[in-house]
C-alpha cells in the first residue's frame, strides 16, 4: 500500500512537471501571467516527490521484502540505520533521491525567489520542470523503485558490506544534494538566455544556489575521500578513479562559477562566460551521474551495469545539455558585456582563476574519458592514472593556490596600488618554508616541496583582506572567503606533507614480533575472533609506541555472510601530528600474519582543510542571507515610516 502510494505520488509529480513545462511555453509565447500558478505547481511537485521518497524510506525501514528493491538490497539482520541508508544505496533509490532533490530545489526556487525578474523565473521553473520530467520518465519507465514481488521472499539479499558504514551512508546523498543544487543554476541560466535578461540581478539570485550546492559538493567530496581512505585499506586518500573524478568535475566547474557569478553580481561583467559555466556545472553533474550509473568506465566503484539505463541517461544528457548549448550559441551573441575593467583588477584576477579552474577541469575530463576515445579510435586499451593527473593538474593547482593569495587584494575595475608590497611577509614565510624543506628533507619530490611553499604563502596571505578592517564589522561573506581560502592552504599542506613524508611497512609477522614504521615501533599482539550483528571477524591487537606511551590498535578482517564478502577494517589512531594506520591481512601457513602499517604525518589536514573550505562557504551563505533579510526589513520600515 505504502509502495503504491509512493508510485502514485511519482506519477502525479510527473504530470505536474509536464503541466509546468507547458505553462512556461504558453507564458513565454503569449505573455499570459503564469508565474503564480507555476510557483504553486512547483511547490506541490516538490511535496509529492518528498512523499514518494518518504514511502521508499518507509518500506526500507520496515524491510518490506515484497518490494523487489528491498529484497535485492536489504536484509532483516542489518542494523536499522543501514536499512534506511539502503534506500539510496542502489540504482533506483538513488535516482529517486536525485529527482526528489531536483523537484524540491525547484519548489524552493518557486517559493523563495523574490529577486528574479518574473519572466526569467517562469522560464527557469519551466526549464527545471523539463529536467525533472526526463528523470521522472527514467524512473517510471526504466527503473521503478516500487516494483513488487509476488510471492514475497523470506529474506533479502543484503547490502554490499562496504556500504555498511556511516561515511558511505551519508556521503552519496550529500553529493547528490550538491549535484542537483546546481540544476537551479542551470535552469536560471537557461531561463535568462530565453528571456535575454542576463544581469546582476540574475547573478544575485543564482549565487546562493551555487554557493549552497558548492558547500555540499565540498563536504561530499571530503567525506568520500575520507571514506576511501579508511575503508579501502590502502592508505591513499584520492585515487583519480573515474567515479571520484565524476564528483570532482562538477566541483571544479561550480568553484569557477561561484567566482564568475560574483563578478556578474558586482560588476555586470562576464555575462556569457557565467551563463556557460552555469550550464557546464550541472552538465558535469549529469555526465558524472551517467558515468557512474552506466558503468561505462571501469572503476573500483562497481555499480550495476545496464546498457538500457545507460542509453536512457545518455539521451537525457544529450537533450538537456544539447538544448542548453544550442540556446547559448543562438542567444549568447546578443549578450552585451557589462562594465569594462583593466588588466590589473579584481575582475582580471577572477578571470585568471576561472581560466585555471577550467583548464584543470579540462585536464580531469580528458584524463577520465581519454581511455574511452583511444579505444574507440585505435582499439588499444590503456588506463590513465595518478602519474598523468598529478603531473598535469598538480602544477596548475599550485599556480592557482598562489594566485588565490593575490586575487582578493585587488580592487574592482582597476588597481594601481603596489599589491606586491603587501605580500612581503607571506613571501618571506613561503621562502623560509622552501628553504626549510630543502635543508630538512632534501630527498622529497618537487611537487610536494612546491606544495608546501605555496601552502605557506597562501596560509599567510589569505588573511590580508582583513587587515585594516574592524573584525566585528567585517561582513560575514569576507570572513567566509578568508576562511575558505585558508582551508585551501591547510588541505594543500596536508596533501604535500602526506605525499612527501608517509612511511609504510608491509610484512608478514608472527605474534610477538615487532616492526617499525616512521618513528613507531609496532608489535603484533593477540589475534582473536570476534563478531558483530551480521559479521564475524579476526581482530588483531597491535601495540605501538614511539619512545613513551603505548597505543593499542585493533584492525579487523570482517567476513559478511550475506552476501559472502570480506572487508578490511583499518584501525587508525589520530595524533596531533599525524595518523598511524594499521591493517591486518591474511594468515600464512606458518602462523604469521600480513600486516600493513602506515605513518602518515599531518594527513588529517587534508580533510580539515576540506571542512574549512565548506565552513567558509557556509559563513558566506549565512552572511549574504542575513544581509538580504536585513536590507529587506530596513526597506519595509522605511516604507512604513516615510
Amino acid at each position: 500500500m505504502i509502495a503504491e502510494a509512493g508510485l502514485a505520488a511519482l506519477w502525479l509529480a510527473a504530470g505536474l512537471a509536464a503541466l509546468q513545462f507547458v505553462l512556461m511555453i504558453m507564458a513565454l509565447r503569449s505573455h499570459i501571467d503564469a508565474a503564480r500558478t507555476m510557483r504553486s505547481i512547483a511547490a506541490v511537485q516538490g511535496v509529492l516527490t518528498l512523499i514518494s521518497f518518504g514511502a521508499l524510506l518507509f518500506v526500507f525501514a520496515r524491510t518490506d521484502l515484497s518490494v523487489a528493491l528491498v529484497f535485492e538490497n536489504s536484509h532483516s539482520a542489518k542494523p536499522f540505520i543501514y536499512k534506511v541508508a539502503g534506500a539510496w544505496g542502489n540504482h533506483e533509490g538513488s535516482m529517486l533521491l536525485w529527482v526528489t532533490v531536483l523537484a524540491f530545489a525547484g519548489a524552493l526556487l518557486a517559493l523563495l525567489s523574490r529577486r528574479t525578474n518574473e519572466r526569467t523565473l517562469v522560464a527557469a521553473l519551466g526549464a527545471q520542470a523539463a529536467l525533472a520530467l526526463g528523470f521522472y520518465a527514467f524512473l517510471l519507465v526504466a527503473s521503478n523503485p516500487f516494483a513488487r514481488l509476488n510471492p514475497a521472499p523470506l529474506e533479502g539479499r543484503g547490502l554490499n558490506p562496504l556500504l555498511q558504514d556511516p561515511g558511505l551512508a551519508f556521503h552519496p546523498p550529500t553529493l547528490y544534494l550538491g549535484y542537483v543544487g546546481l540544476s537551479i543554476a542551470f535552469s536560471l541560466a537557461v531561463g535568462a538566455l530565453l528571456t535575454g535578461d542576463v544581469d546582476s540581478r540574475l547573478a544575485r539570485a543564482m549565487r546562493p544556489w551555487v554557493l549552497g550546492a558548492w558547500i555540499l559538493l565540498t563536504l561530499g567530496i571530503t567525506a568520500g575521500s575520507y571514506w576511501a581512505y579508511y575503508e579501502l585499506g590502502w592508505g591513499g586518500w584520492w585515487f583519480w578513479d573515474p567515479v571520484e573524478n565524476a564528483s570532482l568535475m562538477p566541483w571544479l566547474a561550480a568553484t569557477a562559477l561561484l567566482h564568475s557569478v560574483s563578478v556578474l553580481a558586482s560588476r555586470g561583467a562576464l555575462k556569457a562566460w557565467t551563463m556557460m559555466l552555469a550550464v557546464i556545472a550541472f552538465s558535469m553533474s549529469m555526465v558524472g551521474t551517467f558515468l557512474v550509473r552506466s558503468g561505462i568506465l571501469t572503476s573500483v566503484h562497481a555499480f550495476a551495469i545496464d546498457p538500457e539505463r545507460g542509453t536512457f541517461l545518455l539521451a537525457l544528457l544529450a537533450i538537456y545539455v544539447g538544448a542548453a548549448f544550442t540556446l547559448f550559441a543562438l542567444r549568447g551573441v546578443t549578450l552585451k558585456e557589462g562594465a569594462p575593467f583593466e588588466l590589473i583588477s579584481r575582475e582580471s584576477g577572477l578571470v585568471v582563476n576561472n581560466l585555471l579552474l577550467s583548464v584543470i577541469l579540462g585536464v580531469v575530463f580528458l584524463g577520465t574519458l581519454y581511455p574511452l576515445f583511444v579505444e574507440a579510435v585505435t582499439g588499444e586499451k590503456l588506463s590513465v592514472g595518478a602519474p598523468y593527473f598529478n603531473a598535469v593538474a598538480g602544477p596548475l593547482a599550485l599556480i592557482l593556490a598562489a594566485l588565490v593569495a593575490v586575487g582578493p587584494l585587488l580592487r574592482w575595475r582597476s588597481d594601481s596600488r603596489p599589491i606586491l608590497k603587501r605580500l612581503t611577509i607571506p613571501a618571506l614565510l613561503s621562502a623560509s618554508a622552501l628553504a626549510m624543506t630543502i635543508i630538512v628533507a632534501p630527498e622529497i619530490g618537487i611537487l610536494p616541496r612546491l606544495g608546501l611553499t605555496a601552502a605557506a604563502f597562501l596560509a599567510a596571505a589569505c588573511w590580508l583582506p582583513l587587515v585594516g578592517r574592524n573584525p566585528l564589522r567585517t561582513p560575514l561573506a569576507i570572513w567566509g572567503m578568508v576562511i575558505a581560502h585558508f582551508g585551501i592552504a591547510v588541505a594543500l599542506a596536508g596533501m604535500a606533507v602526506d605525499s612527501a613524508f608517509t612511511r609504510q611497512t608491509l610484512a608478514v609477522v608472527k605474534q610477538g614480533e615487532t616492526l617499525s614504521v616512521g618513528p613507531w615501533t609496532v608489535e603484533l599482539g593477540d589475534v582473536v575472533p570476534t563478531a558483530g550483528k551480521n559479521w564475524t571477524a579476526i581482530e588483531a591487537e597491535i601495540h605501538a609506541s614511539r619512545g613513551q606511551g603505548l597505543e593499542t590498535l585493533k584492525p579487523q578482517t570482517r567476513y559478511f555472510t550475506d552476501p559472502p564478502t570480506e572487508t578490511n577494517e583499518a584501525a587508525i589512531e589520530t595524533f596531533w601530528n599525524g595518523q598511524l594506520y594499521t591493517v591486518i591481512g591474511k594468515p600464512d601457513a606458518s602462523g604469521g600474519w600480513q600486516v600493513r602499517l602506515w605513518w602518515k604525518p599531518f594527513v588529517t589536514l587534508i580533510w580539515l582543510g576540506g571542512v574549512l573550505i565548506a565552513f567558509g562557504g557556509a559563513l558566506a551563505l549565512v552572511g549574504r542571507a542575513w544581509r538580504g533579510w536585513r536590507s529587506k526589513r530596513d526597506r519595509g520600515w522605511r516604507e512604513r515610516y516615510a
Binding site: 556569457a272 545507460g310 544539447g322 548549448f325
Partner: protein
C-alpha cells in the same frame, strides 16, 4: 566572440555523445590483448623440474617447429583438467613444454603420475621470474611460440576441450 566559437561547446558535446554511444553499443571486451604477441620469447634458461626430463630455455623454442609453452603448477586445481586436454593435443603431434611455477620436483612427479604427462621438457620457475617476464599473471596460462621463437598467442586460463580446434588453428598459422 564570433558565432563559430559559440557553437564549439555544442560540437564538443556531440563528439562526446558519439563516443559514449559507441561505448554503450560495443560490448565491453575485458580481455586485455597480450603485449607480447608478435615478440620474441624473452631469454631464459630454467633448470629441469624433474630429474627424468630436460629443463627449458628460450633457445629450445626456436627449433623451426611451433610449440605450446604451458605454465602450470602441481598446486593448481584448474591445471588438473587442463593437463588431460594437453595430452589430447600431444597425441595429435603437438610439442608441449611446461614451466612449473613455484613447485617442487616430488610434487611435480606426483601430479604428472596422477593426471598424465604431456610435456617434452619441464623448466622449474621457483620464483615466478620467467612467468613474470612472459607477462603471465597466473596459472594455468599457455603460449604458442612459432619455430623462430616468436610468441603468436597467449591463452589465459586453462585450455578446455572446446578450445582445441582454435589452438590447432593457431598452431597451423604459426608454422
Amino acid at each position: 566572440m564570433s558565432r563559430a566559437i559559440r557553437f564549439a561547446p555544442l560540437v564538443l558535446l556531440l563528439l562526446l555523445i558519439a563516443g559514449l554511444i559507441w561505448r554503450l553499443v560495443t560490448p565491453v571486451d575485458t580481455n586485455v590483448p597480450s603485449k607480447l604477441e608478435g615478440k620474441a620469447v624473452p631469454a631464459f634458461a630454467l633448470a629441469a623440474g624433474l630429474p627424468t626430463k630436460p629443463g627449458l630455455s628460450s633457445t629450445d623454442l626456436a627449433t623451426g617447429k611451433p610449440h605450446i609453452v604451458n605454465i602450470f603448477a602441481s598446486w593448481c586445481v584448474p591445471c588438473i583438467t587442463e593437463v588431460r586436454v594437453l595430452q589430447q593435443l600431444r597425441s595429435q603431434g603437438v610439442s608441449i613444454d611446461g614451466i612449473a611455477v613455484r613447485d617442487r620436483p616430488a610434487d611435480i612427479a606426483d601430479f604428472l603420475a596422477r593426471n598424465g604427462d604431456p610435456y617434452e621438457r619441464i623448466g622449474s620457475d621457483t620464483e615466478s621470474k620467467v612467468q613474470i617476464s612472459l607477462g603471465s599473471s597466473g596459472v594455468p596460462e599457455s603460449f604458442i611460440v612459432d619455430g623462430r621463437g616468436i610468441i603468436r598467442y597467449q591463452h589465459i586460463g586453462p585450455i578446455e576441450a572446446a578450445d582445441v580446434p582454435m589452438i590447432l588453428g593457431k598452431l597451423e598459422q604459426s608454422k
